[in-house]
Symmetry: D2
Subunit: 313 residues, 4 copies
């Protein structure tokens, strides 16, 4: 994460300033505002602004006039009820805005979530920084042999070393050539060679590798953020985007603690059983011994059911 001293000073000044507002305030999130939370080797998430808190969810559900007079205990019960029964619109009444620095291949997955607002740093207009994602050794995984879109064991020895060297060298060389084509010096943007014109930025960027970092402002409502997290904080998500999802989970916990707890219980920690799985479960509870062959489930669904029930398949 490369924030200059001047940028860090500006961040600290913003984080420490206070202005009075009549709006609802989330004390947990105020404490996090503006300061970058590191993710991966050069990335970060900074919360820039937010609207609403747990009480705003409750208030929308009640369409009441004030901030609500019920006990906090009743708020918790209502939020859990809303989460359990997928009443999603009250959670849309909170909003958050983040500044995110992330590798381009992660940005390409992230942007698929359409119900959000995005302003990305423009490489048509500006020159990207020399920053690339290089995985830590413990994240350098082999292709899974059982799951075509998953990871297997960690690579080791010369194969790992060769991969790291290739990733690093190719990213550096492509970036060097990017600057060369732009005809720019690394610092200050002066032309290297006054006799050359320099390739248009919108073209030169195509030489960069997909692990180059980009950045954007991302704004989303709480309901859609939770939906994003249910997909991207999941073990099936690629590790690199999951790292961002986990930082966001911490932000949600600080911002709307009751909603976070309900989300853990009814979404992240929950499991959906199909009609066929339910039939098997009923037979098991009636004392019947059921195995995969007799269950009517595919092998894969049987394994999923056993895993959910904490049993060996």
């Amino acid at each position: 994460m490369v924030l200059s001293a001047a940028q860090m000073a500006e961040v600290e000044a913003a984080a420490n300033a206070r202005t009075p507002t009549a709006r609802p305030v989330s004390p947990g999130l105020e404490a996090l505002l503006f300061r970058p939370i590191p993710v991966l080797d050069h990335g970060f998430i900074r919360v820039i602004d937010y609207m609403g808190d747990d009480a705003a969810v409750v208030q929308a559900a009640r369409v009441s006039y004030g901030r609500g007079t019920r006990a906090a205990n009743e708020d918790r019960g209502l939020i859990r009820y809303l989460m359990r029964h997928r009443h999603t619109t009250p959670f849309e009444m909170c909003e958050i805005k983040c500044h995110v620095k992330l590798p381009i291949f992660v940005a390409r997955q992230w942007i698929r979530h359409r119900t959000a607002n995005v302003n990305e740093y423009s490489a048509r207009y500006s020159v990207l920084d020399r920053e690339f994602y290089i995985p830590e050794a413990r994240h350098l995984a082999a292709q899974s042999e059982t799951n075509r879109q998953g990871r297997g064991e960690v690579l080791e020895g010369p194969e790992a070393a060769r991969v790291l060297a290739l990733l690093r060298e190719d990213a550096e060389r492509c970036y060097d050539h990017y600057l060369e084509m732009l005809n720019e010096e690394e610092e200050g943007g002066r032309p290297r060679d006054p006799s050359r014109r320099g390739l248009a930025r919108e073209l030169a960027r195509m030489n960069l590798t997909l692990n180059t970092y980009t950045q954007w402002y991302w704004k989303i409502d709480l309901h859609n953020l939770l939906h994003f997290l249910s997909l991207r904080a999941d073990p099936h998500a690629q590790y690199e985007i999951r790292a961002y999802a986990e930082a966001l989970l911490g932000i949600v916990r600080a911002w709307v603690p009751l909603t976070y707890e309900a989300f853990q219980d009814y979404r992240l920690g929950a499991v959906t059983f199909s009609a066929q799985m339910l039939a098997v479960l009923r037979r098991m509870l009636a004392g019947e011994q059921v195995d995969q062959a007799g269950s009517g489930l595919s092998r894969r669904e049987w394994r999923e059911l056993m895993a959910a029930l904490g049993r060996d398949g």
Copy 2:
């Protein structure tokens, strides 16, 4: 507008409370928060929360680290540039949440704007208040004879009196029968007749007329709010929704004054000329006398062009 004394006291308390925040604050909008702005005979708009200000638009456009150090003058220029060239995403970085009370037939037009978050008071769950929109005499217009979806002159005399009487009596009678079917007393919700069960609320509501008031929480980003306003603050919009749009225009002016000014100049006050209209304009500027017959424009387009140029058709 029927806010009880207790509700008004709660509103005042919320409007006068102040909590420190590190977030950007819009002084103009803080002064408006929570207090109902009257619209039509019983409706209102209350701003409940907001995120961002003019500087947030600029900041998103620059994807910068801080709140921006350029002079306000440059901010104004950038906002005007963004508005003129329809760079819409920076305006999505501000968000506003309002509590609106409005007649159902207005709500049905309003909800067609899909890019917003809505929580409506549920008449499946609760009983609606006895409040109906009855137009003021000066808004009681005849059907337009030239525009199938417009209004003509104001009705007068016995015809106007008869219309007002019908609207009032039908709304009242339908509401009386609504309560009777629910088997509820007007106040307090006690059953009228203990021997009856009362019709389900979700059914009884179908007896209400379309001028009955409903209410909702409505949350929208600034770009989509401006789009809503460009359609609903337009002279072609039905007067009743335009009354809400005009209240919202005042809110936008207090909230993001630079954006408001640019919106007036480049959207509300702007006119789009078709390829054919441009060709006519060029001929006129070259000194040619052009009339409708020689313009190649339809009568209707010719009238629109003359109106835009402030000329008689």
Copy 3:
């Protein structure tokens, strides 16, 4: 359902016409095209157009070049996999367009599903027909005593008769006055009284009751249609919108039979267990006797769990 003889003839002509196309064709849905499926007392759904079939879902998932050469058996497995793991984008690749006639209070629930395209019959522009929804006697339910937004037992005797009379009379009277204010004859639209101007249509409509029928064109992709159905074909949905959802389920079954089957197994017939419910299940499977008090679940959640397991609470 009031289609004139001329309209029915036009519908039959369209339903029986055939033009060659190179596009994928769903034989099941071709057989249903254009003909109204009756819903409630005057409503209907007519499929007007569609794009894609089960194979289009598979093709999108494979992003392949052709229509796919795998056996139908593999298509079924892939569709079930996509549904089980909530890979939603391939289901967005099919689209359907319907013409729906429905009471306004149902339309108000329906329109809350934002990811769809809608063109509604305009009562600013045209005059609505004299058609109101009056529930059948067996659907005339009392307010539920346990569920604030539900129905209890069916009303009977004089209470039922009174409710039906009120609904019918109020709708008729309001409609009579609507025509009177418009100064229009029932048929043909001639003015009743040449000395009057007639109230603007956009105003007169506010006198109608919420059970008046409206109509619209509604276009939606298959994923969002299934999401709509998971909410509106649910026993907690109001009966009147559920009646439309059930007609749509029949349409889905004819259109994309493999997707329909997977939707039944993994969505409509499925149950989601919270983290706490899963813990209880594991204890039960280990042979422990668990009751509500010892489960850590609320009474309501305990009842939901027992219901899912087909047991008495």
Copy 4:
């Protein structure tokens, strides 16, 4: 564009097959179905499916029962009226689905249009082909000196040769290393070295350059397609995405010729004048000599106005 002989045979078979349908058919688009339209050096657009035609726009605007009995002449007038007055919902009633092959940096611009459905070829799951975009010499432009996100003159001589060599060599080398890290042979996917495991696909892809081609299925309604085209067929759009927009314009013309004509006249060929520009225009039409200094417009706006009026600034 690399379609194998087997793929081309499959495409031809699909394009030549005909099945009867009761749905509306667009003859112009049927003739284009399935066959790839080349774009850039290796890209293409293939129309895969569509729903509706010009008559469907008219039908939705009328919410009528049949396909419409008015003369084609009236259809044209209504479509032009809808386009001129930005009545957008009837254009949402048509839908198109395309298979697109495009460089990743173009895909990153394209995906910013959120109101569309997308299934992209997954480089987590599969191995990308060896295909990169290398600009033709005449598109190898220098950075514009006046517009930070634009292109200036074409590069020539050794600078151009060097840029082309760098783009080609870096893309090739990165791709070679991608296969090496995957431990895959170019053809057939056999492992190169049985003693190695091969890096996970989801990681290896990050070594590819942004000019590598990807592909997706893209489905969008006609209104949102026209909005996409108004931004991307614009001279300010980057040439590479404009090349796709121009291919799409040809598709729209074949599909819905009346809508295409109205779009040309009222959108692509139209110009919006701000309130200030209108004031200047009125002065000019009144015979006044106005120059930039006296116009109250900025230099930039003055230039835009003069350009729209076909005059020297």
